[in-house]
């Protein structure tokens, strides 16, 4: 009796252990690692780059931003913009169906807008950018924006993944998030939480001949070292977010290529002229210039990033509209000049100032904060670094409170500096700590200028203003490393870390 119980227990144990299904053979299946489990595959709720990237293959928008960062027709064949820049009319393709067989029509565009604006969506602001979306006929849609909006088309291309109205009405948004349906190159097959997302090629895809692989699998691999191992064994084909050290190690490994590119993310020290920064020496433009001259960004890049980052000249950085390497150069490291400027401003012996730092909030950021402290001590400025956990650093109660200066970074997904300019310099916005009406006016002018060339010129002017009267210490933009199996062809990630996989094939 007793022995039989023990035997039964042992059997149960073995069955429990052997439970997972056997691994499937992987033929023409592209396997991409994700650094975290996507929160949602519904784009307005895909609240980080990982979730966004995992969602992209399921959807298309009306327009697409191609590899050269130009707008290209996608589900819309063409469009017209009104004289005053507040009305858009899109003419839709007539040969597109959703993965569930529903035809793509003007009604789909309207429903995409309506579901996108729900307040529970993290990215509702991408959809409320349109104040009206209406169907003129089955294949013509009219958009209205409250005022001219320079980046409206980019936003549309980036985040308006078209959704099927009948299916949404049937299953609701939560049901949709569990089994999403779009018009994209891949259709959803299954998802296993925390583990994998499986998609298969959409045989009726409107871009004839695409996608180039029959299956696409996302695997959740949170640890960078494990991603590094798995790309070497060939278990995954594309591994993102590797450290410079890991990338250098992989460069010597057969069968793996290392792809690197500059991330469209500006790291900076923000000055405050409100809250803790009011009444400090920072209010003097010469002091802020001095701090820029006195910060050894080149040394920081060499010592902390092994050279794998680029110094930035301002908020308009490489890859951005209006960026011009000939005329835009980073502040040189010039402690002499810095001391002169401090003396002119009336601080020949320097001063003491506090600086907030989001501990472990970014790669190597703690070291960067401490390096800034040392380098600024060289010009007589004593910086008290105040570390905070990221969660409290960015929380509503704290952001304005920590330090008269603070270290932070800001990315842009649209190939323009506008998101960081708007977010960090327009009074009333949550992260704005430097208030200057001239900057705010300039940002507004950029926002309202729909013409691309004119906008590029405005960015250059804005850059000059922010150079003369700097609201930030401009630091660096990091290099991003990804490891890609040699079988992978046609993979091209972009500065905003997003990728489109329909042109990727496996040898």
């Amino acid at each position: 009796m007793k022995r039989r119980t023990v035997y039964a227990l042992a059997m149960t144990l073995m069955v429990m252990i052997a439970l997972p299904l056997l691994a499937q053979a992987q033929g023409d299946r592209l396997v991409v690692a994700l650094s975290s489990d996507p929160t949602s595959l519904f784009l307005p709720r895909a609240s980080d780059r990982t979730a966004h990237n995992a969602s992209l293959p399921l959807y298309d928008s009306l327009i697409w931003i191609n590899e050269d960062l130009e707008l290209e027709p996608a589900l819309a064949e063409r469009w017209e913009i009104s004289e005053d820049g507040t009305e858009y009319v899109f003419h839709l393709r007539r040969d597109v169906t959703f993965h569930n067989g529903e035809p793509f029509t003007a009604a789909s565009v309207v429903v995409t807008w309506e579901t996108g604006t729900e307040p529970g969506n993290e990215y509702a602001n991408f959809f409320t950018a349109a104040s009206l979306v209406e169907a003129i006929d089955d294949y013509t849609v009219r958009f209205v924006t409250p005022e001219p909006n320079a980046t409206f088309l980019t936003t549309l291309a980036f985040s308006w993944g078209m959704v099927p109205p009948a299916y949404i009405a049937e299953v609701g948004l939560d049901g949709f998030a569990r089994a999403p349906v779009g018009t994209g190159p891949f259709r959803f097959v299954s998802r296993s939480a925390g583990e994998r997302i499986l998609m298969e090629a959409n045989p009726d895809y409107w871009r004839a001949g695409y996608p180039l692989v029959s299956e696409l699998e996302f695997r959740v691999v949170p640890d960078a070292s494990t991603r590094l191992a798995a790309v070497q064994t060939g278990e995954i084909h594309i591994a993102n977010r590797l450290s410079p050290d890991q990338a250098m190690m992989l460069a010597r490994v057969d069968g793996v290529n290392v792809v690197s590119y500059l991330n469209d993310r500006a790291y900076y020290v923000g000055f405050k002229n409100v809250g803790a920064g009011a009444g400090t020496p920072l209010e003097d433009a010469r002091v802020r210039q001095a701090l820029n001259y006195g910060s050894d960004r080149f040394g920081i890049i060499a010592a902390i990033f092994a050279g794998q980052a680029e110094p930035i000249p301002g908020f308009v950085i490489e890859g951005n509209l209006g960026y011009d390497p000939a005329t835009m150069e980073p502040f040189p490291y010039d402690p002499e000049r810095a001391r002169e400027l401090l003396t002119e401003a009336g601080y020949p012996d320097g001063f003491e100032i506090s600086m907030g730092c989001p501990a472990d909030g970014y790669v190597n950021i703690n070291e960067v904060c401490l390096a800034l402290q040392r380098t600024l001590a060289g010009i007589g400025v004593e910086v008290n670094v105040e570390f905070r956990t990221t969660n409290s650093f960015w929380s509503e109660a704290q952001y304005g409170a920590v330090g008269a200066m603070f270290v932070d970074s800001w990315s842009s997904a649209i190939g323009e500096a506008l998101p960081r300019l708007e977010g960090a310099l327009v009074p009333g916005n949550y992260y704005t700590a430097w208030e200057d009406q001239r900057f705010a006016d300039m940002v507004e002018q950029i926002t309202l200028t729909v013409d691309r060339d004119a906008r590029a010129e405005l960015y250059r002017q804005m850059h000059e203003m922010m150079r003369e009267d700097p609201p930030f210490i401009y630091l660096y933009q990091p290099t991003i490393f990804e490891a890609v199996n040699v079988r992978v062809q046609g993979y091209a990630p972009r500065a905003a870390e997003e990728y489109y996989l329909f042109k990727v094939s496996l040898d």
Partner: protein, 306 residues
Amino acid sequence: MFRYVIRRLLESVLLMLGVLVLVFFLVRLTGDPVSLIVPMDAPTEQREAFRELMGLNAPLPVQFWEYMSRAVQGDFGNSLRRRGEANLGIILERLPATIQLALAALAFAVLVAVPLGLAGGMRPGSAVDRLARAVGLAGQTVPSFWLGMLLIVLFAVTLRWLPSFGRDGFASIILPAVALGFAGMGQLVRLTRSAVLDVRRADYVRTAHAKGMRALRVSLLHVLPNVAIPIVSVLGVQFTYLLGGSVYIEVVFAWPGLGSLLENAIRDADFPLVQAITIFISLFAISIHLLTDLAYGLLDPRLRRA
């Protein structure tokens, strides 16, 4: 026995209430989830709408009351990040993977440790005994996440014998189970060995030897049953450690269980989910301790009669 069970039950309930209170306030000390969830360039109105919708603008005592009154009814709320999904459902989805890994780790620990400890303890000073002591020491000193990385590099990258991550069939559970079970194995080896050392001098063992029983039979029939009690009591505690300690190992091996879910939820500032997982694991741990205590009575006839 009955009064003992009642007392242990009441203690467990009090402990659980303490955990509930602690979890609620600790999570809130870490900051504001809205600023981490809503994108940086979202307008202020959108932030407020989001805060309102998620019930994060109510005064803390009100939030606490809501949370406690729901928790005692077994409602752990909804995830902040995965809109509309109940935390309990999310947890139950991931629980089997964690239990599976913990059982595998436990099986590994027991299957290695008990024979080794038994063999070592029966012949102190022998080569087997030295091995047992070395393994025991290694198990208790080698950090599990480091061991995990080492196993991946050796068995997945260099030898290509086993997958480096994931949950695909039997082969994929071996490395995480070894990494997770290693520490417990070390403790069990030492425990078994020292228990055997005590028992092997007992009269009944000497008698068994004297009547000509073979050494192996003596070990299995007379020594092992008598060292089972301390082993089982440690196993219960070990199992709860394995459930909680699997956070690192699950992350390293991309094992889709509660541990990697917890890590992800903390990174995402998903307060309700972090709370729910912590409560769930505590509940599990408390129950296991309770069951272990009750199991003594079944294993030890002296206790049963008392």
